[in-house]
Symmetry: C2
Subunit: 434 residues, 2 copies
């Protein structure tokens, strides 16, 4: 309680400053919202070109951030995330061009029908307005998020982490230049260079000017934003993805799905974190799958029954007894929790208790049971005989994504361009009255 | 600042109690979410029957509320809103049967396509989970809101106003009985009988258990909820509806739209509050329209130019000079603000400044201009040559409605059954990996 109270007080210290920033973004937002598809695409094309031609400028800014980071003792994965290189900048420009190629969601007619009185009713997409992105050390988010917001007709307020502030500032400057060059207000992409948390908190109170806040980063950041915002927040919490191997599963398929889910990219949110195996097939599946995972360097955290089947002679896997906190844990590394269950119901109950509404998959040849799973399990992506790794905007056909929402309001699952819009009712008639 | 801080502290006093209530609703929500369409409809059919057969019980409870209200000096419209009668109960049962007849949004496939790797991707509707309705003195909301939530597979927490608590309790008891009789948990509709505001605040902090809060009532209540909730809130603020009569308007149509918008039911949120008239047609439209509105008892609050045209000899209309606060005001009675504008742009700017994102209509025969208006104006319903009075779930073909959202996130405009659901991605394959 005292924490929130305190942060609200801190937030209020810079309320007027935050309001002024949000007002600038709001004022600019109308011009982007009504700009044609061609004009918004032209801004992004120009931005891609500016990124290509500004390597020196951006890398110099990045160098300042990297020096500061090394001085602060930052190393390893965090330093790597902060680092830009010419190939990474080229990839960034390419990502912007891919957004240009995506269909424009603005003005898309989602549904249309005629009413008995002859009125035509359509539901038509419109931009949300002003989107506030709060992120951590990855400077590529500056460009990716801005590209998605501008493509979908929104103005964007970018509040990045202090570690990347020079790099983010340099990239944001390119975005502003691209906007101005095409005759749109530079304020449609406003970079908040001041890393003071009180300012961020004050921005999160601007619910009359900011339509949506999207925190991108670790669970701590997301919880902090969700707990302190008056603005609507779309949460992208952790992905604790489950694969349930049913007694009627094709076991070689199950082994492939488990291996791919865990090993192909263990550090991402759609990686498999927990394997649930029906007791009838556990003895057939687990020993060989355990050996294969062990060879790939995976540590297994198993319940008693799984342990007996995994800790076999000849396995190179490190197998340890799972503790309560291993269930529902997002490992983000080569660790997999494994549990043998007595029934489908027990598997679904486990998912209900420990899952994170991100990605859950059943492997079975029993179609009625699969249909039941697809209906009963609530997660943003619910799958049958596919890898959890497909829960991704690109893989599911949305094009680029802003993140994967694990809360159901407004957007659930991967969030693409459409999820950065709302729909309004457009009604046309010939003088109908009531 | 001190207000929120104080209310959060008050809220915390009853946090554990609120959490226990929300946990009960959450636990019951899964059973409703996976119940078949037939079962959910059977609950509502049974509820309608119980309302029909329980007039004595409900009217007795209502009598207690009415006695208390009269003692507290409540009268007029508020007392009327609180009053149930046999015909009103019959209408309430009929409204429940109308919800039964609506299509079930749960499990509806919104979109489906195949990916290049052969996976099938569908977006399928699922219930939100637990919906908290906070409302004031109208006991019919107890039944209407519960019916919409249960039909869409959600559990519902009902927190009504203290004036109607006996009536609400009696109606909620019928809903619980209907649930139990069909084998569903009675907690799927939980009535919060205690009108203590601290308990309401504590309920609004349960963001891990409650998926959505919908305040229904006056602007004060809605602002209070929005400012104090950690749970997602859908706001239904005021309707400051505008009609812009363009220079290319059919003026007899314009007069009908203005008259119908204001006079047919002035106390509702889609009633017309402000008429904007292009200067080129003002002299032709306003004198006769003003007389007609005056005969219907409408008071006109006009800018200088409109005043000169409205305050004509022979008019019975009361015409007064509009003050700044008349623009953007939801009168909810027989008062209409009237302004003459120099251009389309001035009309749209007026709407942008004073509108409430509820309902805006253009009257014109100039199709390109109308299309521009329909695109540029953001309101939840944007209309061309129709009355503002059509912004209503029933009139737009949604069936019953939960209210009209004036915020863009999740739902914008009238909120029907679909808007009480989310969509998840359902992916089926034959062992695809990445």
């Amino acid at each position: 309680m005292s924490v929130e109270t305190q942060s609200q007080v801190q937030g209020s210290l810079r309320f007027d400053e935050a309001r002024a920033l949000a007002e600038r973004a709001r004022a600019a937002s109308r011009a982007v919202a009504v700009a044609s598809t061609e004009l918004r695409n032209a801004v992004l094309e120009r931005l891609a070109g500016l990124i290509d031609s500004s390597h020196a400028e951006v890398l110099a800014a990045n160098g300042r951030d990297l020096d500061a980071a090394r001085e602060a003792g930052i190393s390893g994965a965090l330093l790597d995330r902060l680092t830009l290189t010419p190939p990474r900048l080229t990839a960034l420009a390419r990502a912007v061009r891919e957004v240009v190629a995506l269909p424009d969601p603005v003005a898309e007619v989602v549904e249309g029908y005629e009413r008995p009185n002859g009125m035509r009713v359509e539901r038509v997409r419109l931009p949300l307005g002003v989107v506030l992105i709060i992120y951590e050390a990855r400077p590529n988010v500056t460009v990716d998020a801005a590209a998605l917001c501008l493509k979908s007709g929104n103005a964007v307020l970018l509040r990045g982490g202090k570690e990347a502030r020079h790099t983010n500032g340099a990239l944001a400057e390119l975005i502003s230049r691209a906007l101005s060059a095409e005759g749109l207000p530079a304020d449609a992409c406003l970079f908040v260079g001041d890393p003071d948390r009180a300012l961020m908190l004050a921005l999160l109170q601007q619910d009359e000017l900011v339509d949506l806040a999207i925190p991108r980063g670790g669970e701590g950041l997301i919880r902090f934003v969700a707990q302190n915002a008056r603005v609507a927040v779309i949460k992208h919490y952790k992905g604790v993805c489950h694969l349930y191997v049913d007694k009627a599963a094709d076991l070689s398929m199950a082994a492939e799905l488990a291996f791919n889910g865990k090993v192909s990219r263990p550090g991402v949110c759609n990686a498999l974190e927990c394997l649930l195996v029906h007791r009838d097939v556990a003895a057939q599946l687990l020993p060989s799958l355990g050996r294969r995972l062990g060879e790939a360097g995976v540590e297994l955290r198993a319940d008693g029954r799984a342990m007996a089947l995994l800790a076999t002679p000849g396995t190179t896997a490190r197998v340890v007894r799972a503790t309560e906190e291993d269930w529902g844990k997002e490992f983000l590394e080569l660790i997999l929790a494994v549990r043998v269950v007595d029934s489908y119901e027990e598997a679904v109950a486990h998912i209900g208790r420990y899952g994170s509404l991100h990605t859950e998959v059943i492997c079975t040849e029993d179609e009625p049971l699969a249909r039941r799973f697809l209906r009963e399990v609530e997660s943003g992506m619910t799958g049958w005989n596919v890898s959890t790794r497909f829960n991704d905007g690109g893989e599911l056909g949305l094009g680029a994504e802003m993140g994967i929402s694990t809360s159901k309001l407004h957007a659930f699952g991967p969030m693409g361009l459409r999820e950065l819009t709302a729909t309004k009712f457009v009604v046309t008639g010939r003088g109908q009255v009531r």
